[in-house]
């Protein structure tokens, strides 16, 4: 538990002299013991048993003892020990400690305050307030966002101690230096977890907290890079600023070390300004099956030249209650195929799945999901949802898998030009595995490639209605265009119902009776 060793002394002294804070010293010594960072910054550095190093390099016995004892104690308790200890000191010692205090209060040249007062309990509370206002559960990890000047400061400081660091161990390189964001995370995680009570922090959580800082004073440092290394900073249309992290890191590698100035970094006059705290939860996926009972309802909003056709859509009717329950920021809807606006989907319905973006609530019991399903079903009589459930991202691919192999059943109301009798259509029932050559229907040719597709109608049956109408039931391979099979699409689907019946035929109504996909699993009512 004593992360700094005697041989670190030259680096530590050089870093402290350059104006690094205690945590940055640990970082540059490549210390990855989390607990070391959780010590309050007021505690001075330990780097060997019974030995402590201040900015002046002075020893203080009482501090030393307190520091060693309190090493494992919670930070708040440790902080209280400090004033008491200094009260016992001689005047000389007290002055030295005071000098040290001044040093500690100064803004660190590398982290610009982020690992100093910006990661204390006050900052942790701010994070917690935001987290609590947005979320209804508490399993999360934290990351922080750093603006680009950090990388420059980091690089400057690294150049400053590179020699000493390599002496410490030849294996150590720039990448071994602990990143500001890692150190920040280690410090904050403990504080935030404590404040939030029952929360668990883990590194693989689906919930992330972003903490952003800015430091106007060093923003200009990027411009020095741009003038030294202009080819690294080419504007692209998608980026708000040319100073992306990647570009800065790349430029830093290219610039010769002796031209990198100032090294060590200048002492900043002010700390970073904490900007927003952002909470982001990974997408949650919801799946189910839907029925569509209306012949004037598109599956997704229908826009022509930016103008809306039809009032609502299946997607919107389902999404509205789901979004408000999960308090999600947005959604992506997908389904196992889609039906035309004038086609109903009956039977067990069509499998669908929705990705819910940044949900503010993510855990629902079976009963709660059932209730949500009820809410959707009560909101409209045009659609109905069943088997509503939360699924994994991986499970969603099951829906799209084998889309070509699955079968679908339909019922079509067919009109014939010539009058028919019952026995004129009975031969249809005997047709098995009829292979169609379907040219891409003219109806969709504007957005799909022109091709001849071979699709199989596994079976058919005809139910006589009157002399010009019958109901045709079909079981087909997915991807078969039923309307075109009935009317022939200018003879572009062959064979077609006109050919089979030797008269013009047309389709008046179409219903999807089943989409034979065994996903998502059915939920008993």
């Amino acid at each position: 538990m004593l992360p700094l060793k005697e041989k670190d002394k030259p680096i530590v002294q050089k870093l402290l002299a350059a104006g690094c804070c205690a945590r940055c010293v640990l970082r540059f010594c490549c210390v990855s013991v989390h607990a070391a960072y959780r010590q309050p910054p007021q505690v001075r550095l330990h780097y060997s048993p019974g030995f402590k190093l201040g900015a002046s390099g002075e020893n203080n016995k009482s501090h030393d003892a307190a520091g060693s004892d309190a090493h494992e104690e919670p930070p708040s308790k440790r902080a209280k020990l400090e004033p008491g200890a200094s009260g016992d000191m001689s005047g000389e010692d007290a002055a030295a400690v005071a000098g040290q205090r001044d040093e500690e209060l100064r803004v660190c040249v590398v982290c610009v305050g982020v690992l100093q007062e910006l990661c204390d309990a006050t900052q942790a509370s701010k994070v917690c307030v935001r987290v609590c206002s947005q979320m209804c559960w508490g399993l999360f990890s934290a990351v922080d966002e750093l603006t680009c000047p950090f990388w420059i400061l980091q690089h400057s400081c690294w150049l400053h101690v590179k020699k000493e660091l390599r002496e410490k161990s030849a294996k150590l390189d720039k990448d071994d230096v602990v990143q500001v964001k890692e150190a920040f995370k280690w410090v904050m995680q403990g504080l935030v977890a404590k404040e939030l009570g029952g929360s668990t922090l883990c590194s693989q959580s689906k919930f992330e907290v972003g903490v952003e800082f800015s430091h106007p004073e060093t923003d200009a440092d990027c411009h020095f890079l741009a003038s030294t290394c202009p080819d690294c900073f080419k504007p692209t249309k998608n980026k708000q600023s040319v100073f992306t992290r990647m570009a800065v890191v790349k430029a830093l590698e290219k610039i010769p070390e002796d031209r990198h100035s100032p090294c060590p970094p200048r002492r900043p006059s002010s700390s970073c300004v904490p900007l927003d705290v952002q909470c982001l939860h990974a997408s949650v996926f919801v799946a189910g099956r839907y029925n569509k009972f209306c012949r004037s309802l598109p599956q997704t909003p229908w826009l022509i030249d930016g103008e809306r056709r039809m009032e609502s859509s299946v997607e919107e009717l389902i999404a509205a209650p789901v979004l408000s329950s999960f308090r999600a920021a947005g959604f992506n809807f997908s389904s196992s195929g889609r039906e035309d606006v004038d086609v109903r989907t009956l039977g067990n319905g069509r499998p669908f799945a929705m990705e819910l973006l940044n949900p503010h609530r993510s855990s629902f019991s079976t009963a709660q999901m059932k209730q949500l399903q009820e809410t959707i079903n009560k909101s409209s009589d045009k659609i109905r949802v069943r088997d509503l459930q939360i699924v994994s991202r991986e499970a969603m691919s099951r829906m799209k898998e084998g889309e070509e192999e699955k079968t679908k059943s339909y019922t079509a109301l067919v009109w014939t030009l010539k009058p028919i009798r019952r026995d004129d259509i009975s031969f249809i029932d005997d047709i098995q595995d009829l292979t169609l050559d379907q040219k891409t229907p003219l109806r969709v040719l504007h957005r799909r490639a022109l091709a001849v597709r071979h699709r199989v109608i596994h079976s058919m049956s005809a139910r006589f209605l009157d002399s010009h109408h019958f109901y045709l039931s079909l079981k087909t391979q997915a991807g078969t265009y039923i309307k075109e099979f009935v009317h022939g699409d200018f003879g572009r689907t062959k064979p077609n119902m006109c050919e089979l019946l030797k008269t013009d035929t047309d389709i008046l109504e179409l219903d999807v009776e089943s989409v034979d996909v065994d996903w998502p699993p059915s939920i008993p009512e």
Binding site: R448, L465, G491
Partner: protein, 182 residues
């Protein structure tokens, strides 16, 4: 329900062409009397070139001898190939680009034109095998070609064409000027 109504109105039930396509006409193509073309424009902007029912080929029980998509030595519409969603590689046609030449058994030859600007997607090869389709179902299975206008020209390409109403006026004037021999 719905189907009951449709049964009653079956005689007037709109056909596939009525439901999804707008009919546009070019009368007396290239000044040749009665060589009327009909363009069916789908609501998705795709156009199907067909013979208007008034075209001389469809009059007086004519019989087709041959249909030729080879419109010059170097160019055959049968060689047209499009690939991908964007239909790359299709021949680009202007209003007066010939699509094919049709010869009747009485040795009269007619040239069928594109009538609109756009990319040729396909020609109807079925009518080569079964020319009678052209006579029996000129506005569906006997179509000549499918053309995809440029997106930005979807509206303007039909400006030079006649609507159904305008075409009918042309026909009634024609009837007055040249009364059909009875």
């Amino acid at each position: 329900m719905d189907c009951e109504e449709q049964k009653d109105t079956e005689a007037k039930a709109p056909s596939v062409v009525d439901r999804y396509y707008t009919r546009w006409y070019r009368a007396d193509m290239k000044g040749k009397p009665c060589e009327d073309h009909c363009i069916l424009q789908h609501s998705n902007r795709i156009c199907v070139v067909t013979l208007a029912e008034t075209h001389p080929i469809l009059q007086n029980d004519r019989t087709i001898k041959s249909i030729n998509y080879q419109i010059s030595n170097g160019c055959s519409r049968l060689n047209n190939k499009v690939s991908g969603k964007s239909k790359r590689g299709g021949q680009f046609l202007t209003d007066f680009a010939p699509l094919c030449r049709i010869t009747c058994t009485d040795e009269t030859e007619y040239t069928i034109y594109s009538c609109i600007r756009g990319r040729l997607l396909e020609v109807n090869e079925c009518i080569l095998e079964t020319p009678s389709l052209l006579l029996e179902k000129p506005s569906t299975e006997g179509y000549i070609a499918v053309i995809l206008p440029k997106f930005e020209e979807t509206k303007s390409i039909t400006e030079n064409l006649l609507s159904r109403e305008e075409f009918e006026k042309v026909l009634s004037k024609r009837a007055v000027a040249q009364p059909q021999p009875s």
